[in-house]
């Protein structure tokens, strides 16, 4: 699958497989065959070794929330124009996002759709999963465990 199904902007990369795996519900990192260092988001190259011999490894989807927010004023791709809203030409339903630390310090960014932002706390245990949007694009959601 084209990486643009995930990134919105960029379609050409050496790590397209990430999206196919995500579509199948798996979170994949790349790992350097020489030094074993894991990269999530995946990288085709290891800057520690300056090597490009990588293998795909599935990573844990469970971890600890390191931070979060809820963006009320969205960027263009997420904005639906509604001229009646005060202070803004934008109306949409904001959704919290967060960063989850999983195995080996790897960090997964994702949406936290089912929670009131005021109830989200740094340090919460959460699980990330893949999510298919109505337009067929893929993204990542997280919920407490």
């Amino acid at each position: 699958m084209d990486l643009k199904h995930f990134t919105l902007n960029i379609s050409q990369t050496k790590v397209n497989r990430f999206v196919d795996e995500l579509a199948a519900g798996r979170f994949m990192a790349t790992s350097c065959k020489k030094c074993g260092k894991k990269y999530y988001p995946p990288q085709a190259d290891c800057p520690d070794c300056m090597a490009s011999d990588m293998e795909w490894k599935q990573i844990s989807q469970e971890g600890t929330l390191v931070t979060f927010t809820k963006i009320h004023v969205p960027p263009e791709h997420f904005a639906v124009r509604q001229p009646l809203m005060p202070f803004s030409s934008i109306q949409f339903e904001p959704c919290p996002i967060g960063i989850l630390e999983v195995e080996g310090g790897l960090k997964i960014m994702g949406w936290i759709p089912k929670m009131d932002v005021k109830k989200i706390k740094v340090g919460m245990k959460m699980k990330a999963s893949s999510f298919t949007l109505p337009d067929g694009k893929l993204t990542i959601v997280m919920e407490p465990i």
Binding site: L3, F6, T7, L8, N9, I10, T13, P41, V66, T67, F68, T69, K70, I71, H72, V73, P74, P75, E76, H77, F78, A79, F87, S88, S89, I90, C95, P96, I97, G98, I99, K107, I108, M109, G110, W111, V117, K121, V122, G123, T139, I140
Partner: protein, 385 residues
């Protein structure tokens, strides 16, 4: 390395400048800078231009627009870029030109015309100053990144929304005294705290503005500086450091580690420490960023930034006055111009020309300019004779 001094400063009006284009904004600052220094462009050897975004300029090589408009051909000019730290990186590049002997007198211009695009597009362009591939798909914006930094800082150190709002109240107060500021209106704590949420927990008054504007400085070698200016302000320290592109990859979310590194380099080069600084401009793109800057620059202990503003120690008369020009929060943040504008303010303070906002007998000043979500940081230290 040769000694280098600021010998001329110029600042245009910051704001929504629907009356002027990128090149016209730059011209205002360049003209003011030449007038201040008593020089003409014939006396200037080369030029460095800081413009952060092709996407704001709506064209490739926007610095050529500025260079052409001031008629500086055939002398050298090129553009440097480092997101919101662009202006200070331009200054550092100018410094390298003079210190190395490549040039004796250099013009450094910082300019941005951000309102050329609609707000949602500007929000997108800024959001992509994080990782456009791996972060932006989650609707990240600049307030969003700093909101995540704020939530981490609040969780770890108990920093409060009231303390964030106190930074805004201070910077709006000083902005009200700065004729070049975008927002020239003092606010109270209640107004800041009840403004609408931009990215939880950051509210409207926690966020800097989308701004058009330009600033310029002329810097010169020791020999030339002494002839040009009665009050040269020496650039005695310059530190530049970097960190990961993605926020999630940082070793700390409660500190900008590149700022600590850049400050260490700059302090060492200048032979001074945080307690020697009389006045500082720091990168308050969001109120939490100013609180973290206090900590990263050593003005207080880690985690104590909220208490420093609550004790009003960063007002004029306090232990270390910070952003007494209104900061990015109130003066405005035309991204490519900001670092140069900081240099203008510190130079004014060290010359004793800051009027109502003057820090008494200021001798040593510091400018801290952060690019991206902390990916690149420049710290400069200035000293008068």
């Amino acid at each position: 390395m040769r000694k280098v001094a600021v010998v001329g400063i110029g600042h245009g009006k910051f704001g929504v400048r629907s009356d002027a284009s990128l090149r016209e904004l730059a011209f205002e600052a360049v003209k003011a800078c030449l007038d201040d220094s008593g020089l003409t462009l014939k006396d200037v050897d080369s030029m460095v231009t800081g413009i952060a975004g092709d996407e704001f300029a709506l064209g490739l090589q926007p610095s050529a627009q500025v260079h052409d408009y001031i008629g500086f051909h055939p002398k050298p000019n090129y553009r440097v870029e480092g997101a919101c730290a662009t202006g200070s990186i331009a200054l550092r590049t100018g410094l390298m030109n003079v210190a190395s002997g490549l040039a004796d007198v250099v013009l450094v211009v910082g300019v941005e015309k951000m309102t050329e695009v609609p707000t949602s597009i500007a929000t997108e362009i800024m959001g992509k100053a994080g990782d456009a591939i791996w972060e932006y798909p989650f609707g990240t914006t600049f307030p969003g990144y700093y909101a995540m930094i704020a939530n981490a800082h609040m969780a770890e150190y108990g920093t409060t929304e009231e303390q964030l709002a106190m930074v805004s109240v201070k910077n709006h107060y000083y902005g009200s005294l700065n004729p070049y500021a975008q927002m020239q209106k003092a606010i109270d704590l209640q107004k800041a705290l009840t403004s609408f949420t931009v990215a939880y927990p950051l509210k409207l008054y926690d966020c800097s503005l989308i701004t058009d504007g330009a600033a310029a400085v002329i810097i010169a070698s020791e020999e030339r500086a002494k002839r040009i200016s009665k009050k040269p302000v020496w650039i005695v320290g310059s530190g530049l450091a970097t960190d990961t592109l993605r926020l999630g990859d940082r070793k700390s979310l409660t500190s900008i580690l590149a700022a600590r590194e850049a400050a260490k380099t700059a302090y060492k080069m200048a032979g001074v420490g945080p307690s020697n600084i009389d006045v500082a401009t720091v990168h308050d793109c969001f109120t939490i960023a100013e609180i973290i800057a206090y900590e990263d620059l050593g003005f207080c202990e880690k985690g104590e930034g909220g208490k420093l503003i609550a004790a009003k120690e960063t007002y004029v008369g306090g232990r270390i006055p910070v952003n007494v020009d209104g900061g990015l929060k109130s003066k405005g943040h035309p991204i490519g111009a900001t670092g140069v504008s900081m240099t203008v303010e510190i130079t004014k303070q060290l010359r004793g020309e800051a009027g109502e906002r003057q820090v008494k007998n200021a001798e040593i000043g510091l400018a801290h300019n952060v690019g991206g979500t902390g990916q690149v940081v420049a710290v400069h230290i200035f000293r008068r004779e």
